[in-house]
Subunit: 197 residues, 2 copies
DNA sequence: GCCTGTTGTTTGAACGCTCAATCAACAGGC
DNA sequence: GCCTGTTGATTGAGCGTTCAAACAACAGGC
């Protein structure tokens, strides 16, 4: 494991746990057992660590997020809810302290550099696109002319909002109810598509 | 205007603009033209300022948020979208840097004191309850047995997720599409209620 | 096999600065 | 004279970052 990997790995954990601003370089050093010079040899600044983390999320979405969730799911719409189920697991396993790392950073960083903001946006975009592919695969089960882009963004919206409420109340039930509402929405869409056919 | 009011007012602005951690006491002092001793005479710690802010949001939801949005709206379901319209205005007027103050704080503070967490939760709860009253007022327009509590939380979820994406992409359209999807959901619900009748 | 020069990496003390918080001194009304 | 509220320089911890020095690994010449 290279120093670079060590740092990224530790930063992913700590940024998620304490946030970016509240994670000090000293935190990263004690977690990785590196010295400050070594860290700064690899990353010229703290923000570069953040960029590295966001790139890692961007490049790892398939194997870190999608593949684990979709291992044994074929139905395209169930894949969407399997993805949400992955988040539910994270919330429950963390005693409801889990927050989507991208969403948390997006709200914590109020005036991010363009490079950072773009990476946040790209991460959201890739997530939504993965959902959109599922929606396209569902084909005629959704009403003709469905805006799959807008609907995929809506799924992301529901996930982020549900995670936020679950963490604030320290209660997964808030996430569960959000997912339940989304399920109802999909049920209504499928029903409408069937009636039109 | 008492020092206390000055501080709360300035803190509401600055916490929203830069976040809690990135707002220094010095920022509050220069904004209010107070001295540090005066501030600490009113608020024993920075966290107490935060608590004051959250209490102000809690106590001011009617006149600061609901009344302005509902001034000329009677239809209960349109009241919900008028409320969302208020957020749309804030987003647009701020060049898409606006974030719901409660949501931003909820995600920025990773290990908040119980008192702070409770205040965040209460603010969410009151917001959702206001929406829920609209849903109840809509009566038979929604399907019989609709879980108005869960649906009101879903509206909050949509607002928060939409605001988050709009700010991250610096583009109101993301918020608009979220609201559009929510409108579609309500249309389907109303249609289902009508068919059942 | 041995020395020498080079390159890339690691070390960790130190730096300058900002932060939240303090407190002895003071002012003005009653 | 007392008391409530204000002043603003001061404190000390913690922050991100720097840098001269040490070190390891290797290549080439002899």
């Amino acid at each position: 494991m290279t120093p670079r990997e060590k740092i990224i790995y530790a930063a992913m954990e700590l940024f998620g746990l304490k946030g970016y601003n509240s994670t000090s370089i000293a935190d990263l050093l004690s977690r990785t057992q590196l010295n400050s010079g070594s860290l700064y040899h690899v990353f010229p600044s703290k923000q570069d660590v953040l960029i590295g983390v966001l790139e890692a999320y961007r490049d790892g979405i398939e194997e870190m997020l999608l593949e684990p969730a979709w291992g044994q799911v074929d139905d395209p719409i169930e894949k969407i809810f399997a993805l949400l189920g992955g988040y539910r697991t994270m919330i429950a396993e963390s005693d409801c302290t889990y927050g989507c790392p991208i969403g948390s950073l997006a709200l914590e960083l109020h005036e991010p550099d363009p490079q950072v903001r773009d990476l946040l946006a790209v991460n959201f975009e890739n997530w939504a696109k993965a959902v959109q592919r599922c929606l396209e695969a569902a084909g005629p089960r959704l009403p003709k002319g469905t805006d799959t882009n807008a609907l995929s963004e809506f799924v992301l919206t529901a996930m982020e909002g549900g995670v936020m409420q679950a963490r604030t109340h320290r209660d997964v039930a808030y996430f569960d109810r959000t997912v339940e509402q989304l399920r109802a929405h999909f049920a209504l869409l499928e029903q409408a598509a069937k009636q039109a056919a």
